[in-house]
Symmetry: C4
């Protein structure tokens, strides 16, 4: 069983995150899924197929780190396991957000078979933990889209264990996953990634023009 | 005669849809028209030429499936018949929305004489009913614009009877028609189509640049 | 002297127009000026240099058709005369709006020395009075920018007397002027022009790509 | 010690500026920093790392013109010194705003090694003090990004003393600094710069297409 006061706080965080992310256009058409950690083994996560800008209390449910519903008969997002393996990978994660923006979709598709996005010389790289300068190279992996979520959960975990400083990943033609110690940190990472992807997309349209 | 309680609910759905769609920029300058089914033979539909972000109760009226006004002296949208034939085609449709976005206009014109838009490998294709994977091909027909609405109603009906899984269609240089079992479903289809068209437009601007 | 009740209504229309136009991004940085006709010989017009999204009652003043302040010591917009000659040209004009959008600025500059913008095959051309089909050609003149407003007022008037169906004009690198029988009509014309210019700009970026 | 009533007013100006700038998308992911002058030797400035759209009273602090905290144990923005040298340079400055927009980032990077942005023939150049016509050339310097803020403060000061009419500067891949006699003036300068940079970016994407 989970602490209900903590559950209520975390569910509210998820609801408010959805209001912001939908308004930004990053979670259209009931896409996306969001979660917040309740305790070591439990997370509050969005129920499958809900309007992300108008989440109601019963649009949030609890699952354990194996992705099984707890105290609920609802069905969580099809991608629940991608959240679970992130919380399992790092004890200090408090939230995981998955969004579907036009920029993430177009950029990951435009990069064709390339399996990562390179970000460099952007001041905003400093929005991610442990980055103190714009001078380094930030590497965001891009995984191929699949409906086999279990396989993708293994693939992402293997990558992150090898490159633990990675702050986010993309799924091609699909969207962004990012995480943080708190919901506020995780929202900051989304804002930073969306900003950086918007810059990269605009820069690509300018290529050869200057 | 129509059930007035159902009429009131459906009219309110249309009003709220307009507030959202105008705010998104998809129904500018009194363009667009919206409808919701009241019963087997009647729909609530927008009166011609109204500001779609500020629809008032008397900006909605009832027509039957032949497009004739019911209990009203108002004039419904010039494109009423395009709504009627959709409801007549499928008993399970609860709402029809027609919008005029920049993306729908530019993309349908940019495709020149091509009579369809192909969408493939987008996770968001799953926003449409019966689609469980990003791997299939989604074909959205594009009809030539005309002021002869009766001819267009026959042309769209003939197409949809042949390809009944089609979730939406475009009219070139004009806009999008989509439908669903409920108003919420239909709004989700618009959000998904606008997202996918925005992706396609941005991808076209990147072509040959990567 | 003007009818104060009519003045109050017209001033409020101008204030609300500004709230909408600023929010759309079409009147940034205290640019733009708006007016509404009070009677045959008087208009309510914005005072020079005010924030258009937060117009207060004393940011509106009255001028006569010669552009002279009436019952006021305030200074009206430097472009007041461009409004006056429009009201003088046509008795049935109730409002004139001048906006500064990115699209109007970029498109008018991109067209180089061409002195008009041609719009064709857009359903939204029907937003303008007297246009019943998308099939015609809509010609929007582009005047060269100048700080000599008197000269520009003569140039625009001469053009409009020759082509009285013109619904709007552009000043290169500067912005859009449009007008209508009512403030609602004039706002609809701006929405339509901004939509059409956004379509043209996006289409230009696609040229040679399809 | 500072006058507390003036401090409260200036802090509130900073908070409201942040609400506007975040909503515009110009201060994402806790980037940006803002200040307002309290008296000859003191300014109210944002505390490091705060969400700029939701600044609370304790997210603002006072520093002197040497950048040292006054009546506070908080840490001001890493770029505090860039604000201080501007107030030191000109007694008539009442506010300094630093923002991080996509346009400023992409445009400053796209210009490669060029150390300035040239703006010409835009009516909106008149939004800056002392500019009465669109015909002049407005030169906005671009400084290379660095984490050595002291060096950058010397470099910017040297430039501004040589070219005192400069209304703003860019840091490459980083953002915009602008200033004014009041917060309202400074916000107007940001709006104008963002408008002009948006125009320049769109114009670059059109190059060779017309």
């Amino acid at each position: 069983m989970v602490d209900l006061a903590i559950y209520a706080v975390k569910a509210q965080e998820v609801i408010e995150a959805g209001q912001f992310l939908f308004a930004e256009g990053w979670s259209p058409a009931t896409s996306s899924n969001y979660s917040a950690r309740i305790d070591h083994n439990h997370l509050a996560i969005t129920v499958s197929g809900k309007h992300k800008g108008r989440l109601k209390p019963n649009d949030i449910m609890v699952v354990d780190l194996q992705g099984q519903p707890v105290q609920s008969k609802l069905k969580s997002s099809a991608e629940t396991l991608l959240h679970c393996v992130l919380y399992d990978w790092r004890d200090d994660l408090g939230a995981v957000l998955h969004t579907h923006s036009v920029a993430a979709t177009v950029l990951s598709r435009a990069l064709g078979r390339v399996d990562h996005l390179i970000l460099q010389d952007y001041e905003l790289q400093k929005a991610f933990p442990g980055i103190e300068t714009h001078e380094g190279v930030l590497r965001i992996p891009i995984f191929e889209n699949t409906q086999d979520i279990e396989a993708l959960s293994l693939e992402t975990t293997a990558y992150l264990k090898q490159y633990p400083m990675t702050p986010a990943y993309l799924i091609r033609g699909h969207g962004l996953y990012t995480w943080g110690a708190t919901m506020a940190d995780t929202l900051r990472h989304i804002e930073a990634m969306e900003f950086l992807m918007a810059c990269e997309l605009k820069s690509l349209t300018l290529r050869c023009k200057i």
